[in-house]
């Protein structure tokens, strides 16, 4: 394993410190417990939004802290949910007395730790609501699983919820918007190679030289199936086909199309994939009204990508378009 790090145990702390130094006007960093908030402090009377989860998915979540999006992000160790303490501390740091929304990806660890944090924060007098993101269609949502995972669609949920909070919506409204965005969003991913967790020192899994994993999770959890490497157009057809079937899009729908890189895939390949995805949507009569292409929800240096589709209505479109100023997503200011 070769990595640009010092001690694996220090990666998260040092990266968060680096973020603070790189974005001094935007972010404020707390150590012990570790969390990141807007530099501008809590906004009195506005709903605050806190997200978090294991590290290794950067820019998620700290890269989305800033006006128009998250109020705070709580990074855990690599691929491991943070404990409740830093979540509670972040909650208190950003609470503007209008309630705090937790946006949590649907993993047992994240759900349980944020649940505990919510209990503790409520005990401290903060009103907390929680929205769980579960956009990954690779996992069947049934009583026989922990439910669908939260993956790249988290960016969409965080963006529109952030915009709703910014415009002054109340806690229940913001939570409702976030739930609606989640319900309108589906994702499926593919991996060509695995990332290497710093403290593990070896890839999370191995794929043969001519194999890809369809339906990969962002921690390298296995997906639906391993298939031989195909032209990317065929891979896009598989991923997007599953996404659209699950979402039940119909001709005339307007969507956000989001091609997300997993960390180690050249941007040039993401655009090649985007081309086919846009073509397929056109074939189905679905209008690509908004787009996003790039590495937003990664899995360390994993080579692979995911395709996310959100069915847009006028309000979601307006909230997506609203100004945002974060390290990783910025427009309108």
């Amino acid at each position: 394993m070769k990595k640009l790090i010092n001690d694996p145990k220090d990666v998260v702390e040092e990266a968060v410190a680096g973020m603070g130094l790189a974005h001094p006007g935007l972010l404020r960093v707390s150590h012990d417990p570790t969390f990141v908030t807007r530099a501008s402090g809590p906004v009195s009377g506005k709903v605050a939004i806190v997200s978090g989860g294991g590290s290794g998915h950067e820019p998620l979540h700290a890269g989305f802290v800033g006006p128009g999006m998250l109020s705070a992000a709580v990074p855990g160790p690599v691929f491991t949910s943070p404990t409740p303490d830093p979540v509670v501390a972040a909650t208190q740091a950003v609470d503007g007395r209008a309630g705090v929304l937790y946006i949590v990806k649907n993993y047992t660890g994240d759900v349980l730790n944020f649940e505990t944090a919510a209990d503790l924060a409520e005990a401290e007098g903060v009103t907390v609501a929680t929205v769980v993101v579960d956009d990954d269609v690779a996992v069947k949502d049934s009583t026989y699983t922990a439910g669908r995972r939260g993956v790249a669609g988290t960016v969409v949920v965080e963006k529109v919820a952030g915009a709703a909070a910014e415009r002054g919506d109340g806690l229940e409204q913001v939570a409702e918007i976030a739930r609606r965005a989640n319900a309108a969003t589906r994702t499926m991913g593919v991996a060509l190679t695995a990332g290497v967790v710093p403290h593990a020192g070896e890839p999370s899994f191995t794929l043969a030289d001519d194999e890809v994993e369809i339906g990969i999770g962002i921690h390298g959890e296995p997906g639906r199936e391993r298939v031989p490497l195909e032209p990317v157009d065929r891979i896009v057809d598989r991923l997007l086909g599953a996404v659209l079937d699950d979402l039940g899009t119909a001709s005339g729908d307007r969507v956000l199309l989001f091609v997300n890189g997993m960390g180690g895939t050249p941007l040039v390949e993401l655009y090649v994939a985007f081309r086919r995805a846009a073509e397929l949507l056109a074939e189905r009569g679905v209008e690509v009204a908004r787009t996003l292409v790039g590495d937003y929800v990664t899995s360390l240096e994993m080579q692979g990508m995911s395709i996310t589709v959100t069915r847009l209505d006028d309000e979601l479109t307006e909230l997506w378009d609203a100004p945002v100023e974060t390290a990783a997503l910025r427009w309108g200011r």
């Binding site: 294991g54 855990g76 160790p77 691929f79 491991t80 949910s81 943070p82 404990t83 409740p84 303490d85 993993y107 047992t108 660890g109 349980l112 730790n113 649940e115 505990t116 690779a138 996992v139 009583t143 026989y144 699983t145 922990a146 995972r149 967790v197 403290h199 593990a200 999370s204 899994f205 999770g217 921690h219 390298g220 959890e221 296995p222 997906g223």
Partner: protein, 220 residues
């Protein structure tokens, strides 16, 4: 022959030792059907627990010591196992109240409350391929042993043996909770890491009770 705070300290120390020794093995189990951090998570938690153990007041009760384990695990482990095991210790400690000597009934009450805590948080049932597959047989075996008039040490031994069998029993299962549930049939043939670590924890409890130090202290 009751168990007391000395046993509790030995139980905690042994758990920290075994978690350190088995770190790589637990990581490997979790790599197979999860995300490969279970050993890392527990080691982080129990090394924090160990560090705090020395700072506890001399007269700390078993319940106080186990509550310290609970809060430390909750605030250092993260992931799924942090809140689950943390809640186990929290509820188990609460069941002990401020007792200083634990008889067999207290041991059973501890184990039962701990298991119930995991269920409360994680909603798993036996057969879901989780740590519950170790805890529930352990609770049942402990109850039977206590009913048969066994001493606390023997109750814990019965629990530990049942947990070990329970951990092994997860191998042929498809998982219905946690990360392994994403794998469907592909989880078959792999042991659940949380069931394995829970069985190691219960083995540590039994071993701590079987050592002269713990046994004699209980008699002193």
């Amino acid at each position: 022959m009751t168990l007391d705070a000395t046993w509790t300290r030995a139980f905690i120390e042994r758990t920290a030792d075994v978690v350190r020794e088995q770190r790589a093995a637990l990581v490997e189990l979790d790599r197979e059907i999860g995300d490969g951090d279970h050993g890392e998570n527990l080691e982080r938690g129990f090394s924090a627990v160990r560090a705090k153990l020395g700072q506890q007041p001399e007269d700390a009760t078993p319940g106080q010591l186990l509550k310290m384990v609970a809060t430390t695990l909750i605030s250092t482990v993260g992931g799924a196992s942090g809140p689950l095991l943390g809640t186990a210790y929290l509820k188990g400690a609460a069941a002990l109240g401020d007792a200083t000597e634990l008889d067999s009934a207290a041991v059973v009450a501890f184990l039962t409350a701990a298991r119930d805590g995991v269920v409360l948080r994680g909603k798993a049932e036996v057969g879901d391929k989780t740590m519950i597959d170790a805890w529930t047989p352990a609770v049942e075996a402990a109850g039977l042993a206590a009913g048969d008039g066994a001493e606390p040490a023997a109750v814990l031994r019965a629990a530990a043996d049942a947990a070990a069998e329970g951990a092994a029993s997860t191998e042929p299962l498809v998982a219905r909770k946690g990360r392994a549930s994403y794998l469907g049939e592909r989880a078959v043939g792999h042991r659940d890491p949380g069931a394995q670590s829970s069985s190691l924890i219960l083995a540590a409890a039994a071993e701590a009770a079987a050592t002269p130090a713990a046994a004699t202290t209980g008699e002193a």
